[in-house]
Assembly symmetry: C2
Homo-oligomer: 267 residues x 2
């Protein structure tokens, strides 16, 4: 265990962010356009260097704020804020041609934002459908029916739908982040992180359908989530924003682990 300070090779340590949201019936990730080589002009995940005396989670929250304006926990508000967790660490010696960089990737789940992402240094941050970034990615089930998880193309004249492949090893990181999100919906209440503070059961169901790329039975889903203790808290109000009969509004309950879990259909 040689801890001679001159005996270890120096590394740069960065955080990269997989920021996911559900918008327009599609699972979307936040990407920025690279303005310089390598991979100039390609899209990449947001991220940056960890500072001298900064914890990894703090660095991830700072980058999130700087590049997207999102806060991982609103100070003083009831808003639970977006969800942030460590995803995995990527350290292939050749992942960055310029130097040895170890990147600690983090996963962020955010509700659909009324205003486009703004307020950051990186003016070019954009939401992009995961299906356009990872055409052959982890199978979203090509869900038959209403699930819109595989929307691939914008209008033909749309110049700006970001497409893969992403820079560096970011395809891999994004793939891992999406799979983590899909898996965690099964046994945690994290789907509510994709929803606004108040939401209906139908809106929550659409989150599951889009992230998993499958169609779920609205009636069984309703019975299941309302029957899981601690998952949903009725907020008292109702809304008709989805059309049809007014739906009860809920907030996320205190439970984080779902028991029994919400298992993905296999088929």
């Amino acid at each position: 265990m040689p801890y001679d300070p001159s005996a270890f090779p120096p590394f740069a340590v960065t955080v990269d962010l997989v920021v996911l949201t559900v918008r327009r019936q599609a699972l979307c990730a936040l990407v920025v356009r690279r303005g310089e080589p390598p991979h100039q002009g390609q899209w990449a995940l947001p991220g940056g260097f960890v500072r001298e005396r900064e914890d990894l989670a703090v660095a991830a929250a700072r980058e999130l704020r700087e590049e997207t304006g999102l806060r991982s926990r609103e100070p003083g508000t009831e808003r639970p804020g977006v969800h942030l967790e460590q995803l995995a660490t990527y350290g292939d010696p050749d992942r960055d041609p310029r130097m040895r960089v170890v990147s600690v990737a983090h996963l962020v789940l955010a509700p659909d934002l009324p205003a486009p992402v703004a307020g950051g240094d990186a003016g070019s941050a954009r939401w992009a459908p995961v299906a356009a970034l990872l055409p052959v990615g982890p199978p979203p089930g090509t869900g038959a029916g209403t699930a819109g998880g595989t929307e691939r193309a914008g209008a033909p004249g749309d110049p700006g739908v970001p497409r893969g492949p992403l820079a560096f090893d970011h395809d891999r990181i994004l793939t891992d982040g999406v799979e983590r999100a899909r898996a965690k919906l099964e046994y945690s209440s994290l789907a509510t992180a994709f929803c606004p503070p108040e939401f209906t059961v139908g809106e929550l169901r659409r989150v599951y359908e889009v992230v998993w790329g499958v169609a779920l039975d609205p009636r069984n889903f309703h019975r299941k989530v309302t029957g899981t203790p601690g998952f949903l808290l009725p907020s008292g109000g109702t809304t008709t924003r989805q059309g049809g009969r007014p739906a009860q509004l809920f907030r996320a309950g205190g439970a984080t682990l779902l028991n029994p879990p919400m298992l993905r259909p296999e088929a």
Copy 2:
């Protein structure tokens, strides 16, 4: 995105290993005694620096080999070798008082070894019951019945049962590793990584009982694991090494994900 090589603070990057096995009816972790400050004389997880052009998983496999003699995949043999996966990364600026060290922890699951761990530089590597290292650790359920997961003390005169707290933030890392192992037994076939190449259903059940710290119904367990496709392959032989009626021997099947999962009892 400033990538000026002089603009980033230098970090040391290490790998730390949570090596778990089941021996003598207890979940055990591999620890080494620290011979120098800080934390001199305390026990710590094995680990070391990542080399200049070494991938993280390669560094973890190398440290495992150097410090324990275990190989993550025996070259040329049918032996599946021990299981190795990335666990999480720990980067608190003050986790090591000497310098800024980011540690990428890895989780290793190994069968009980006939010979004591040997062959490494670190001569002081030892198996220690997790319950002695983490006295208040994640609740093993204090399983009523036959499960021996909470064995805490050696014989009174035994001078050498390593006890916590561990050096640095290794208590936290070990806790996370144990929880990961407990969780993965539920939905993967990883329990076989704790078993020798051929094993009986009873031996596999004892792995679950020790890791989870609960007693399981032998009859229901038998029906469940033999009924899960791809989990177990009959090897043809039988053994009587457990006493009683001869038990069929199995090898690990090809399946990695268990469907349906083996859920932990709650109670």
